[in-house]
Every structure is written in C-alpha cells, then in structure tokens.
C-alpha cells in the first residue's frame, strides 16, 4: 500500500480523548460543567469562564454546512483528490469543526446542507471525522 502522504494530527495530552473517540466512531466535544459553554477543540480550561470543570460529551454527529469551498488546486499530498470539498460544519450541539464533505458530488454542496459524521480510518493511530449529506 502507498504511504499516506497527507498531514496527520499530532495528538497531545489535551486532545487524546478526542482522537481516541474518533477511533471508536464517536465525535466527542467538551462542555463546561460550570457555565455550560461548549467548545470546539479540546483545551485544559473553559474558554469562557476558565474553570477546569470540563466534561466530555458525545455529539449526535448531525449538523449542517456553515461554509465550504470546492478545492481545485490543493496543497501537497492532495493533488490527486481535486476537486474535493473543504467545509466548516456546525454540529447540532453548537460547536464547529473543519472537515471534508465526502461521498457526494462536490458541486452539490451548499451552505445549510444537512450532514452526518462518517469516520475515515487512516491508520491504527488516526481516524478522521468527515461528513456526508444526511440520509433523509
């Protein structure tokens, strides 16, 4: 098999639960037990109240496209994938992630499109959360 030539996340102590969740097909996010703030990438403290009282929740994986772009000239490692869709997805629970919209015609993607998380296993350490148009 060809080596995977694209950038991979360098997992650290704060973010390990998130990436472990992806490996188990679960999209996790942090919620502050003190003030209820939901934050999009894992941190040590709440971005709003700075309390360390963060708890992990599992997202429904449902959301919609907040914005997107169809990439026709991609960075190194992605040359053969064009055209592909880069998107920011707003999850039902209120956080956002950068991702790809996959398994659909790139030209069919619109802002507001309902999407559902799918997990793409890259190797034994990394699984990436991507999104596909939600089934009706």
């Amino acid at each position: 098999m060809e080596a995977y030539a694209k950038p991979l996340p360098e997992v650290d102590e704060d973010t390990r639960p998130y990436w472990e969740g992806c490996k188990q097909q679960k999209l996790l996010f942090q919620e502050c037990a003190s003030c209820g703030t939901v934050q999009s990438y894992p941190r040590k403290v709440c971005m709003r109240c700075m309390q360390a009282s963060l708890v992990w929740r599992e997202s429904s994986g449902r959301g919609d496209v907040y914005s997107f772009s169809v990439v026709h000239r991609g960075p190194q490692g992605f040359e053969d994938d064009v055209p592909y869709v880069v998107a920011i997805v707003q999850l039902a629970e209120g956080f956002r992630v950068m991702t790809n919209i996959v398994d659909c015609d790139p030209d069919s993607v619109r802002i507001g499109l309902d999407v559902q998380v799918v997990f793409q296993r890259i190797n034994e350490d990394v699984t990436l959360p991507k999104f596909t148009p939600a089934r009706r």
């Binding site: 914005s67 997107f68 990439v71 026709h72 950068m98 802002i111 990394v126 991507k130």
Partner: protein, 390 residues
Amino acid sequence: MLETALNRAAIVGIGETAVGRVPGKTARELEVEAIKLALDDAGLTKDDVDGVLTFLRWDSGWETKAPILAERLGIEPVLPLTLAFGGSSSTALFYYAGLLVGAGLAEVVVVSSSDTQLSQGGRRGTMQELVAGTADPQFELPFGVNNPSDYALYAQRHMYEFGTTSEQLASVAVTFRNHARLHPKAQMKDPLTVADVLGSRMIVSPFHLYDCAVISDGGWAVVITSAERAKDLKQKPVLMLGAAEAHFANWISHMESLTTTAATRCAAKALPMAGVGHDDIDVLFLSDQFTICPIIELEDLGFCKKGEGGAFVAEGRLALGGQIPTNTHGGLLSYCHPGKGQCFAHVVEAVIQLRGQAGDRQVKDAEVAYVHAAGGTLSAHVSLVLGAAR
C-alpha cells in the same frame, strides 16, 4: 485628537527595492538595500538609528531576527524586535515603532521587511509554508485546507448571507488592476475585465485565479522618528495620528463569525484617536490578498453597511476619482504580495500619497490616509491613520 505617544511620531523616510520578480537577490540583500534607500530618503544615516524592527519571513526563518539584521548594518540598537503573527505584522510594526519613539524609548526606528517568495521560495514550497502557518496543524491541515480555501470560506458565507456575487468580487480585482496600470513598478499591468476574472481558472470556489493575490519578491523599509525631529529632515513628515490592533480567534474554524471580523474594533479605536471620521479619509488602503477581503474590511471598518461591500466596490467607489480611492498602487492583487511583508507597500504608497509624490496616481490634496492590514486568515487586524504634516 486623543493625545497619545503614537502621535508624537512621524514617518520620515521610505525605501522600496524593485518589486515583482527580482531574480538573483536574497531577501537579506533586498532588506539591506531598502534600509539604505529609506535612510537616504530621510536624510539620516545608520548611526542615527537605535531601533530595528523586522519580522520572520518565509524564506529564511531565524536569520531575519532583528539583532542579526542590526549587526549586518553595524547598528547597535536599544530595541531590536522581531514579530511574527502573519501578514499584518508588517503594519503592526509601524504602530509599535510609533509608540516606542513617542514614549521616548528610541529615537530613530527602522522598520523593514523583505522576501523572495517568487524567485527563491519556489511556488510550491512557499505555498506549503503558507498553509502550515495559517491553519491549525491538528484540526485543520489534515483536511487539505490551504490559505486560499480558508478565505474562500469567508467568501462563500458572505455570498450566502448577503447575496454578494462573483461579479462584485471580480470588480475588486479590476479596480486595483486599473490602479496598478498607472504605477511604473507594478507586477501586473495587463488590462483586466470582470469577464477576464470570471473566465480565469477556478482555484478554490468561488475564487478564480484573478481573485487571488500575486506572489512576489521585494524589500521595504520605513524610518520613524519624533514629529519634532521630523521638522528638520529632508521630506515632508507623515504623522502617525491613530492606530489600533485587534484579534478574535486565530484559526478559522474557531471564528464565531465568517462575515464580521476584528476589523470592527480597529476603526472604532483608531478613528477617534486620530480625531477624524470616515468622511475625512482621502485615500484608503485595504488588505486584498483575495477579492473578498476589501469587501469585508469596508463593512467592518464602517465605510459602508454590513452586506453592502460588494455593491460599494462594483459601483466604482474605490477607483481613483471615486468616493474613496483605495489601493492606489494596485494592492496585493496587482502591485505585489511579498508574503509576510504584506501591507508594507500599502504604507509606503500611503506616505507617497500624503507627500503628494504619486504622479498619475495622485489623489488631489490627500491629507489623511487609512491603512488596514488583515493577516492570518482575517484573524490579525491592524489599522493605521496617517496624516500629512501641515
């Protein structure tokens, strides 16, 4: 006007090397050349200089550190500062230099920048650096984002919320190309129409090739000293009337909004500091790395209402002779874009306009200029208000 340390400072010298494709020179050579030009322009020598402000460039990493640059020039600085937070660092350094001089911590500060993205960086390699620097390595880069796709996310959202059109985006590129055609040094001088922009190949939707800035080589330097000392120097001084800086989130996926940026805070601070209103601005400079940028900046800085930026440009209001002539040198889209030096040429052109030295591009009786730099992914914002000394 609010009395601050900043408005005790003035820009007294500018230096700019050849720009565009400048083969056979390293960025270091270009930077030294620009500093020499700027000191000559001011009528000062390197022995007058006690502050050296520069920033990391794409092509040579740590070598750009201010103490190394000072050593190369034989300057013994009290204040060598190296900044690196994206393209708007270029404009932030003028703000900091003005504060340092105004507070009496340094007497003559040289702010400089250079890069050789086009000739030496290698298009592909340089763009990889750009990507790595402007996206979250853990939560964004694995998805194949690049600098153009980040800005495309802003554009798509703006089009969705406000009905901004591809034709309006194209009109930004056309307006600034028309200005570049009047500048002898501009990198892009061929005529450009809205149809040309829309007919150029798609890079990342909705951006066609001509919605994107060029990549360039070049070196710049600006000399700043006290307004008092400026009175006795060679050139008509340009006073630093106001400035402001603001950052919301750093990475684009953590921006609360992709249609309203931290630029809103800049104008709200810089204009009152300068004691001027929007109607007093004679010539405007905006970050235009992609055509969506000036549209959002016009709105956030308060030159038009939110959502109306596209129409504002398409109506010709930014053209020379229009309501508020903008990027009279041609901007990043057509004059040049040297990477981290981003808006250096904007500031140099603002000084040229306020001195009345812009020739065919001169805005008549230009007395107040507003420069806004937006770097990173519209994440780092810096405004400067500059005024001609009376």
